[in-house]
Amino acid sequence: MKQFYIFVKKEWLHIWRDRRTLFILFWMPIVQIVLYGFALTNEVKNAKIAVLDQSSDPATTAIIQEINASRYFDVIRYLHSYEDIGRTFRQGRIRLAVVFPVAFRYDLLHSHHAQIQLIADASDPNTANTLTNYATAIIQDYQQSLNPNQALPYEIKTQVRMLYNPELNGAYNFVPGVMALVLMLVCAMMTSIAIVREKELGTMEVILVSPLKPFRIILAKTVPYLLVSMLNIASILLLSVYVLGVPITGNLGLLVGESILFTITSLSIGILISNSAKTQQVAMFTSMMSLFLPTLLFSGFLFPVENMPWPLQVISNVVPAKWYYIIIKSVMIKGLGFSYVWKETLILAGMTLLLLGISINRFKIRLA
């Protein structure tokens, strides 16, 4: 046991002395949280739009003012002809064009019917949809304001209550995701690279002839990354609670316990990758392609898993991050106890044992 400790200490020193790596390992989760928390959102605001007003009457002016005043839109161009629209779109300046026909107000007052055309740059279908919806809402608001207040009979009212996250704070969704991502990255990728490095530089043989059992040596290599991960989790949680306003509703002990389990799962994956990768380059790209991206996708925090085609949903079950994400959401955000997450925990534990088993096996075969 003491020998194990000595090896762990040596590995820790390796990492500790590599300031650049440590720096990045420490700041990465923080940067991610800041970005997701403050910069990345699908909400639409200050969208740049253009207006083609062929009437220039009080009605059109009023509507344009309403649109400009709203925080969703920023009218940056007043076009003069229909052809201008295409050109401005192609230059990438605007996402929506609002076109008023001639004699807008006249038609509105005398025929009780007028048209407004919304032309959306549908390159980004989502944004296009959102923009047209918002613009329509503003136009309809204006329409309402023209009419006398009429109370409608047979009204169905709805009372809506938002659960777990009444303020619709985006952070509730991605903090668990970032946790999964960071752990997977630090543990799996860094560990696999570290182990393969010894292989590549030829120092592996030296280690293998030392008195400690080879697999224990591999484990010793992973322990420092376990510690770094714990530090990362701590910083993520602190940031979430104090900067993003996401409280820890459930049991902190359970949260930490599950995180440690997932860390070990990630470490096992790292070890497995290091088994087959011959060079650090391969280890890195394998981790990146087969771990980072699937974790990003299939954990469900960036894109909802239910939206994905069925085969992808099946694949997502194999990605450990998906289960961890569910566990964290349940414990941290919903405040549920172990009785609710035992199934997922079991799956994670099972995956870990399987991965470790395969790694140990392959290791033995190589030595034999």
Binding site: R20, K45, S123, D124, T136, Y154, Q159, R197
Partner: protein, 373 residues
């Protein structure tokens, strides 16, 4: 000049001998390109609905049917009480609970008013907002139907009505792939371009062959060109394969010309490879260079407009996107593919990326010393 040829010969031999590189450079990105766009869909559909119906009237049943047939919702739970329905939400079996109180129908017809209760799992704020909006939209629709049944509209004065018509340009079928695939391709080419180049050079440092080069009369610029050129060609190849897949699998045919894409890509790649080069001058081990280039590409990717629109970002983040070469390529890619923009239309972006290329490569050349101080 001859030395450059010898350098290129060596690089190409090394690359062709390493099967892992072929896999990493071509197979993996292609798998990503095939899977990612399928997964990257922000649209909200298949919302799981739990219904608690205390009324069991024809109206309540009608409403539930209407919701079910809207296509947005899946009825996954039908509980006798709110608490049970809530448990379905806890277990993630339902995203939304709608509770119809007893005497819903009676209240509506007799008292002119009835209330429905909706509880939404708001962990995913966007999903909750949209889900709430959808279901309320359907309810309002249903409300209109009920009204029509009971009331005669002519009782009201005709109000002025503004009809809003919609046209979607450039992607009339609202094909999300057209939007995401070019962007994902850019991301892949970027990741590979910068990481690979950086890694390769640091690898020579680690292996010791760099020292051998430093002690030889090879000129600095020749060495750098000897690394840039092969990787530049490789990256363009990856881009080509990606464009091919985009065409064959997703049916994406650019409205603009391929020439514009390649012209821009050539300059862009110089910038990205330059970045990789620059990183390699600061890293001592492959582990470091991989981590640093990964970190930087991650930030660049997130702040590029690929996943979330730039206009939605706060001012400080938008400034960063202006300093990020990736956002320019994504912009150009989308403009050329979807809107048919020409070289002239993207001249500003070309200039920007040229600037980056000069900056990164220049800095790298200054940094790279055959002789350490």
């Amino acid at each position: 000049m001859r030395t450059l040829l010898f350098l290129l010969q060596k690089e190409l031999l090394q690359i062709s001998r390493d099967p892992a590189i072929i896999v990493i450079l071509f197979v993996m990105p292609m798998i990503q390109l095939l899977i990612l766009p399928l997964a990257a869909d922000y649209e909200i559909k298949n919302i799981n609905l739990a219904v608690v119906d205390h009324d069991h009237s024809s109206y309540s049943r009608h409403l539930i049917e209407k919701i079910k047939s809207s296509g947005y919702f899946r009825l996954t739970d039908y509980s006798p009480g709110y608490n049970q329905a809530l448990r379905a939400v806890e277990r993630d079996k339902a995203d939304l609970v709608m509770e119809i109180p007893a005497s819903f129908e009676t209240n509506l017809v007799r008292d002119n008013q009835a209330t429905l209760f909706i509880a939404i799992n708001a962990i995913n704020g966007v999903k909750a907002g949209l889900g709430g909006a959808y279901i309320q939209g359907i309810i309002q629709n249903y409300n209109g139907e009920v009204r029509e049944l009971w009331d005669q509209y002519p009782a009201f004065d005709p109000e002025p009505v503004i009809a809003v018509t919609f046209s979607d340009w450039y992607n009339p079928h609202m094909n999300y792939y057209m939007f995401m695939v070019p962007g994902i391709l850019v991301m892949l080419v970027t990741m590979i371009g910068s990481s690979f180049a950086a890694n390769n050079i640091v690898r020579e440092k680690e292996m010791g062959t760099m020292e051998q080069i430093n002690v030889s009369p090879i000129r600095k610029t020749h060495f750098i060109l000897g690394k840039l050129i092969p990787f530049w060609m490789l990256a363009l190849m990856v881009l080509s394969v990606g464009l091919l897949i985009a065409r064959l699998v997703y049916g994406i045919v650019p409205l603009g010309s391929y020439f514009t894409i390649y012209a821009f890509a050539s300059i862009y790649l110089l910038a990205i490879l330059g970045l990789g080069l620059l990183l390699s001058t600061y890293a001592q081990t492959q582990q470091q260079s991989m981590l640093v280039s990964f970190f930087i590409t991650m930030i660049f990717n997130l702040l590029s407009g690929l996943y979330t629109p730039i206009e939605s970002m706060p001012a400080w983040a938008q400034v960063i996107t202006r300093l990020n070469p990736v956002s320019y390529f994504i912009e150009v890619m989308r403009m050329v593919v979807l809107k048919g923009s020409s070289l002239a239309d993207v001249r500003f972006q070309i200039l920007a990326v040229l600037g980056f290329a000069v900056f990164f490569n220049g800095w790298a050349i200054l940094n790279y010393k055959k002789r350490s101080a």
